[in-house]
Amino acid sequence: MADATDTRKGGLPERLERPGALQFTAYVALAAFVIWSFHGAGWSFSALLSGGPAMADFLSRAWPPSLERLPQLSTALFETFQMALVGTILGILVSFPLAILAAKGLTKQTFVARVFYSASRLLIALFRTVPDLVWALVFVITVGLGPFAGTLAIAVDTVGFCGRFFAESMEDVEKGPSEALTAAGANKVDTIFCAVVPAAMPSFITTSLFALEKATRSSVVLGLVGAGGIGIELKVAMDFFDYQLAMTIILMIFALVLCVERLGNLARNRILEGSPR
């Protein structure tokens, strides 16, 4: 009986494509760079092992958590969440029109539209690439210490984050519904709001809720530079070696972030499976 492979024109294909000399060199260089980066990052197994007892010492000194300043800390934690919420909402509101301008193929191909496209993409990139801590420092200088500076920093960071993902999700939606409405004589604005935005809505919701979770975590850190919230309380507790109070704050932050994540998941599922409009 003839072998089945006899009738085939080609032989069995290679499981993996053999890399070319240049590609192979690039892989080796990449691997070398990663190893070098471990060195640059000060990676030390001995420090990791010797750090174990120090961590155990910290935990023993931090336990049980101190409940003495619980009312004041709760107020600061609530303020932290308020900063995150308001900053995220402001950021989403600003990022939506920016994302429409920054989405490829959504607006007309005129010179003015191209200028707006480039400007909005540049602005989003600037907001995204500069870390929120830097924005917080800038706003502390411009509007003063306190939660307002933190809120503005979160808003700007959210514009950078949501602006990019909103634009990408609008670029990725199926073009069919837009074409159908264009064929029916709809104008560009109507087409965007009727065909593109509803199709991109699941991505908008997921991105927005993720932005809120991200902002909640960020708002804790922003307090360290005087931009309001519970972060400053944590810094003071650590500076004064009041580890029991620090542990209380860490656990409160953990609970807040967990709550926001869980509620975000619930909201996401309810909205995405909700009744049609």
Partner: protein, 272 residues
């Protein structure tokens, strides 16, 4: 072929029979002359085709995959910019029309796509209401809960005409293929079109749903005097539901004949 007159189309001698539909009149709703379209540098899809669709006439455009059917329909509404040639819709020039004029002309044509192209996640009713955007745009036409009562009522009438009034609040992405295509037809009806253009409207449907959808088109064309231009791969359907058949092959019109002078084998040879 069966004694038809010969007519010069795009440089080729093609057998032609005048439309026999009693309902068709002499006005042309769509007139295409020398339409050319090339994608990229050298992928010529349409080689200067010429055809017309008379008012209240039902015309089937057939041809194998890649023959240029969809491109021709899209060029007719300038959803794709034509390379050369002239296009007239309702005796108005489309080729050089300004965007606002073009939108008004498009509003008179209900375009039904192969994949229905409904907006997902919103209701069937909202999809139908959006069919009116070409007539009156603005946020009140975006969704059913913002729409004026008169618009909602008209949209419900359209859904009723396609037998889906009880599915008005169902999400478009939860409808079956046949139901989706019916909603797409209702959306086209919402435009109160003078002409319906359907690009392989039953290609993604099972035979029963496909037959139902074609019957619906037939009924609309006959009862409401709407001009119909549709593409199809199904030669029996093309003959049953049209007054006239055009065949496209390699970007050229190779047949333009009355349906009642043709048999399926006359069309089958234009595939492949």
């Amino acid at each position: 072929m069966m004694g038809q007159a010969q007519m010069h189309i795009t440089g080729a001698q093609v057998p032609v029979t005048p439309p026999t539909a009693q309902t068709a009149d002499k006005r042309c709703d769509l007139s295409v002359k020398g339409l050319r379209k090339t994608f990229g540098k050298d992928q010529t899809v349409l080689q200067g085709i010429t055809f017309s669709v008379r008012s209240r006439e039902a015309v089937a455009l057939i041809g194998s995959n890649g023959a240029g059917k969809s491109t021709a329909l899209r060029c007719a509404l300038r959803l794709i910019e034509p390379g050369a040639g002239s296009i007239e819709l309702f005796e108005q020039d489309v080729s050089d029309a300004r965007l606002q004029t073009l939108r008004k002309l498009r509003a008179d044509v209900g375009f039904v796509f192969q994949k229905h192209n409904l907006v997902p996640r919103v209701s069937a009713l909202t999809n139908v209401i959006q069919g009116n955007l070409g007539r009156s745009g603005g946020f009140r036409g975006w969704t059913q809960f913002l729409a004026p009562s008169a618009l909602r009522n008209r949209a419900m009438d359209c859904l009723h005409r396609v037998g889906l009034a009880d599915h008005a609040m169902k999400r478009a992405d939860q409808l079956s293929g046949g139901q989706s295509q019916r909603v797409a037809i209702a959306r086209a009806l919402m435009q109160q079109p003078r002409m319906v253009v359907a690009d392989e409207p039953v290609a993604s449907l099972d035979p029963v749903a496909g037959h139902e959808v074609m019957e619906l088109f037939h009924q609309l064309a006959r009862e409401e005097g709407i001009t119909l231009l549709f593409t199809s791969h199904n030669v029996e359907q093309a003959l049953s539901y049209s007054d006239r058949v055009l065949a496209l092959k390699q970007g050229e019109i190779v047949l333009d004949a009355s349906s009642n002078t043709l048999v399926p084998s006359d069309l089958s040879k234009h595939y492949g």
